[in-house]
Structure formats: C-alpha cells, structure tokens
C-alpha cells in the first residue's frame, strides 16, 4: 500500500508488548542510494530515537507497530543525529538535477508501506519516480537529468 511522508508524520508508534504509545513519527530517514526508508525517527530533536525499518512490525495507516521498546535506539552517527534534528527531512528540501538546475521543493514523498521502498517524489506538479534519485542530504535532493525536460 502507498504511504506518504506528509501523511505519516506525527503518526503514533505503538509497542505490541505493552500496547502503549512509545512516541510518534518525527521524520523518515532515507537511504538515497537504495531508494528506501532506512529508519523511522521517533520524536524530534535531542531526545529522538530511531528504529531501523527492518525492526518494524508494521507501518500501518493508523499506527506504526514495533515489537517492544528495545528496538528504539539513540542516533548512532552524525548522519542519524542530523536526521533527528530534521536536517535530512525530504519534505521541503530543494530538488536539484545533476545538471545543477532547480526543479522546486519537495512537497511529499510516497513509499510502499510494506517494503519501505520509495515510489515517487512530488515536486510542484511533477511526479519524479524514485528511480531518478541520485542523492540526498542536508542541502538538497539530487535527481538525474532525465528530469530536465518540462513536466
């Protein structure tokens, strides 16, 4: 099923062991080279924690399920810390082509809620397939030059 970054932001994260809420979706950390969601950032800022996608029990339309609180972990490196601070958030990020021209700002990103694989980047009235994604970071998202033509 298709999910979106905007749509899932703020969604409850529930521990199956205790049936209680352990937090809410703050950001989704993406692996640009693999074009998939790598981890879910629960909460935002200094106290935020991460759950690797593989450790999720499920990413449902009403709640994100984890087996128990043990799968939540603090950020392990600078990149993950940047993610908890929101620096790597795709929504609102500038989109550039590899030719150095701006396409616009990312309005939303869709992904498969089963596999975490990214589907499309929505930029203005463009729908850029995730296959065009070359890289993403704190400054911009870079897509390949097939996107240089008009939408």
């Amino acid at each position: 099923m298709s999910e979106s970054f905007r749509g899932s932001s703020g969604r409850k994260v529930i521990s199956r062991a205790t049936a209680s809420e352990v937090g809410s979706v703050g950001h989704l950390l993406v692996d640009a080279q693999q074009r998939r969601v790598a981890a879910v950032v629960i909460g935002r800022g200094k106290k935020a924690q991460l759950v690797d996608w593989a450790q999720l029990s499920g990413f449902g339309p009403d709640a994100v399920m984890v087996a128990d609180e043990n799968v939540l972990r603090p950020p392990a490196d600078d990149r993950e810390r940047a993610a908890t601070e929101g620096d790597l958030e795709l929504v609102g990020k500038r989109a550039l082509t590899e030719r150095g021209n701006e396409l616009g700002q990312i309005d939303d990103v869709t992904f498969d809620n089963d596999t975490g694989v990214l589907e499309d980047l929505l930029i203005g009235n463009r729908r850029v397939p995730a296959g065009s994604l070359l890289g993403s970071g704190s400054y911009a998202v870079v897509v390949d030059e097939s996107q240089e033509t008009s939408p």
């Binding site: 550039l96 082509t97 150095g100 890289g135 911009a140």
Partner: protein, 186 residues
C-alpha cells in the same frame, strides 16, 4: 537553441555533491582560459553568511555540471587543495579580471568592452560568448569560436563576429550554432 548563463551568475552558487546532497562550498572566482574557450576552474568560499574564503579550489575536470542554481560535483574529493590544483586555479591571478577588457576583431574593429562571459547551462564550463558594453552604447552579446587567438592588448575575435552582435541572451543562444557553422567549425 541553447540555454545560456553568465559567469557572474555562477559566482556565489553553491557547490553541491550529487550523491550527498551537501553544499560543500560556494563559488568565488571564475577562472577562464580564452585560448581554450572554457573555464579552467573556480575558487571557493566556505558556505554561510559570515564564512570566509576556502583554500580549496575546484578545477574544471572535477566539475560534473554547472547549472543555473548550483555547480554539481560527484563528491567532496572533487575539491582539491591549492597545491594539487593547476596554478591558474590554485593561485589565480586575481588582478587579471577579464571584465573591462576590450574586444577587437582581427581586422582591428573595436566591438566594445567585456562585461561578462556567457556559458552553456549544464556544461562543465564551455564559454560560448561574451556580454559586452558596445562602443556605441548599450549592451550586446557576441558568440565566440571554440578557441580565441590571444593578443597582448585585448581579446581578439574573428571579423565575422561583427555581424552577430545580439541584443539578449536568447538571441545569442539562437545564433551560436549559426555562427560556428559560418566559422566552419562544428
């Protein structure tokens, strides 16, 4: 029809890595070789409102593409220490600003003074023309051949250039191909 931009529009652009999406520097000076008809590199500033100069430089070979909003590189290793960059880029002759140089045809006609270089958007620094202040007043754009012969006094262009003075970048974009065909070059 080619999309064009000026060299002064490149100054201040961020240098962005394709794989990392990071702005690792921004462009300070644009270094141009009239003989080669292209940029040989750029010098850099660090990013940030109060950040100073960067000692690293970016030679043209390491540029992936120059666009209207960013200069793209593959990764941070594209930026080189000044001692590893070609002299023209690592230690540029900052007093040799090409802006203000006279443009003369081979036959000795003055066309005006250079106010900017015109480059192909998306290339790695191919210079296709000059923006000039015409001797008679007003701004003009002239196409350039792939290589310019150099003189000690001014930038020297082929005689036929005189027929190709354009009023705007769009006109220049449309005329570059025709100009080069007239010059007998591809």
């Amino acid at each position: 029809m080619r999309l064009l931009m000026t060299a002064s529009q490149i100054r201040g652009l961020p240098v962005v890595t394709v794989g990392g999406g990071e702005d690792v520097a921004e462009v300070r000076d644009v270094i141009y070789s009239p003989e080669e008809g292209r940029l040989v590199g750029v010098t850099l500033n660090k990013r940030g409102f109060l950040a100073g100069r960067s000692r690293d430089a970016l030679p043209a070979e390491a540029i992936h593409a120059i666009g209207q909003n960013a200069v793209m590189v593959l990764d941070e290793s594209s930026l080189v220490a000044p001692q590893d960059a070609p002299d023209d880029v690592g230690r540029p002759a900052t007093e040799r600003n090409v802006i203000g140089d006279d443009v003369l045809t081979e036959g000795g006609t003055s066309l005006g003074k250079v106010t900017d270089l015109v480059l192909l958007v998306g290339s790695t620094g191919e210079v296709v023309g000059y923006q000039i202040d015409k001797d008679g007043g007003g701004r003009g754009y002239i196409p350039l051949p792939a290589q310019l012969s150099v003189s000690g006094v001014a930038l020297v262009v082929p005689n036929v250039t005189e027929e190709f003075v354009q009023d705007d970048l769009v006109g220049l974009g449309a005329s570059v191909d025709e100009f080069r065909a007239r010059m007998g070059l591809t």
